[in-house]
Subunit: 252 residues, 2 copies
Amino acid sequence: MSQGAAFAELDIRLDRTSSVPLYHQLATSIEQAITSGELAPGDRLENELSLTNRLGLSRPTARQAIQELVKKGLLVRKRGVGTQVVRSQFRRDERLSSLNEDLAKAGRVPSTRLLDFTVGPLADDVRDALDATGVTEGDFVTIRRLRLADDVPLAILTNYLPARFEIARSDVEDGLSLYGHLATLGVNLKIAHQRISARLMDDEEAGLLDSTPPAACLTVERTAYDDVGQFVELGRHVYQAAHYSIQSSLVV
Amino acid sequence: MSQGAAFAELDIRLDRTSSVPLYHQLATSIEQAITSGELAPGDRLENELSLTNRLGLSRPTARQAIQELVKKGLLVRKRGVGTQVVRSQFRRDERLSSLNEDLAKAGRVPSTRLLDFTVGPLADDVRDALDATGVTEGDFVTIRRLRLADDVPLAILTNYLPARFEIARSDVEDGLSLYGHLATLGVNLKIAHQRISARLMDDEEAGLLDSTPPAACLTVERTAYDDVGQFVELGRHVYQAAHYSIQSSLVV
């Protein structure tokens, strides 16, 4: 590793007589450096131009190698920073809990940016999602927050709650827990039904989650009820998949 | 809807005096046709060229509208077919069960293509994933299968099992259930630890899953043990996110 450069210069050996494509040899070398710990999470990768010049490769070859590792989830491209080794994923237990509190327990520093706080009738697609609950009329509070862990954007959380719950903008600003506030109102969450899937981030989401499109996100749609069976909230959560996974144990 | 065309010609009205961009007006019209059922899951969307000519739009405008709905997960581009309304997702309960059996129960017709069946030592990345199990030495059976539902590719399932289990290629061909075969060997799965995340498909995965890159997949890594606490298998599953979601209920 060169200390002078802002990135590590890996010892990469390419075999030009091999039938293995050069981009794949390069990708394998970088992957080994990550696996061995020579490149640690958060480390910057030598940039394309430097790899190209130093190893006598074409630019598309270097790019293809990096792209392969981005797809594998080992590297991540960041605007204004370059290509970095991904930080290890935050592995979160599948529970009905506050992301904020779960992050703090895991030794991460959570922070929040309130993106939207509005009160009004539901948009059609949200109304459709709530059809099964029977609670679609009247005003709803829509809260949209960006949640960060150690200053890295992790999730965009959108919650829809009937406006009869007393929630003010100040109750969910500055990383305050929505579930915590509901508890102070005497609302105790009891059960949630959730659906987990994935899709591509749209451009706005990618911007908020500090990702260069195309990028994949993990999506969770959750409908939560309190201990007297009353509908409390619909949550639509978009997680930066490179940094987040859900873990659970299944018993037969 | 015109019966002559291979796709529906929607009644789309654009307001050129509006400050709403034309691409967004077009996307909204198409989305309403999907929401209302005018366009049903599996229906082909009128192609870009036809939209362009019929509505007097530029090609980039039509493309941007379609792209917006692809990102929202409402449309899917398919090689050789065009743009289709996505079929509704297969919502699978989070249980330790056979995908084959779950599909059949849901009224889908499951089928399988065996992609790989090999016996040998583990690759480094698989060995790392199995570190916690203490079972990494000796030969392993690697089984890689493409699973389809109603002839639509749904998942690429890769399983790694110690070779001491008697598993032959013929035991997992033709849609036979791996878990079913294990049961005939007296191996009863009891508990699994799993981790759910998402990433972009690589080109090979996109090809197998009939998707045009960039496309997102839902990933599940599962380590399963039997009723005497013995390690049975590591599963690495890649699901076509447009067609698949995992549902569960959480209780406080």
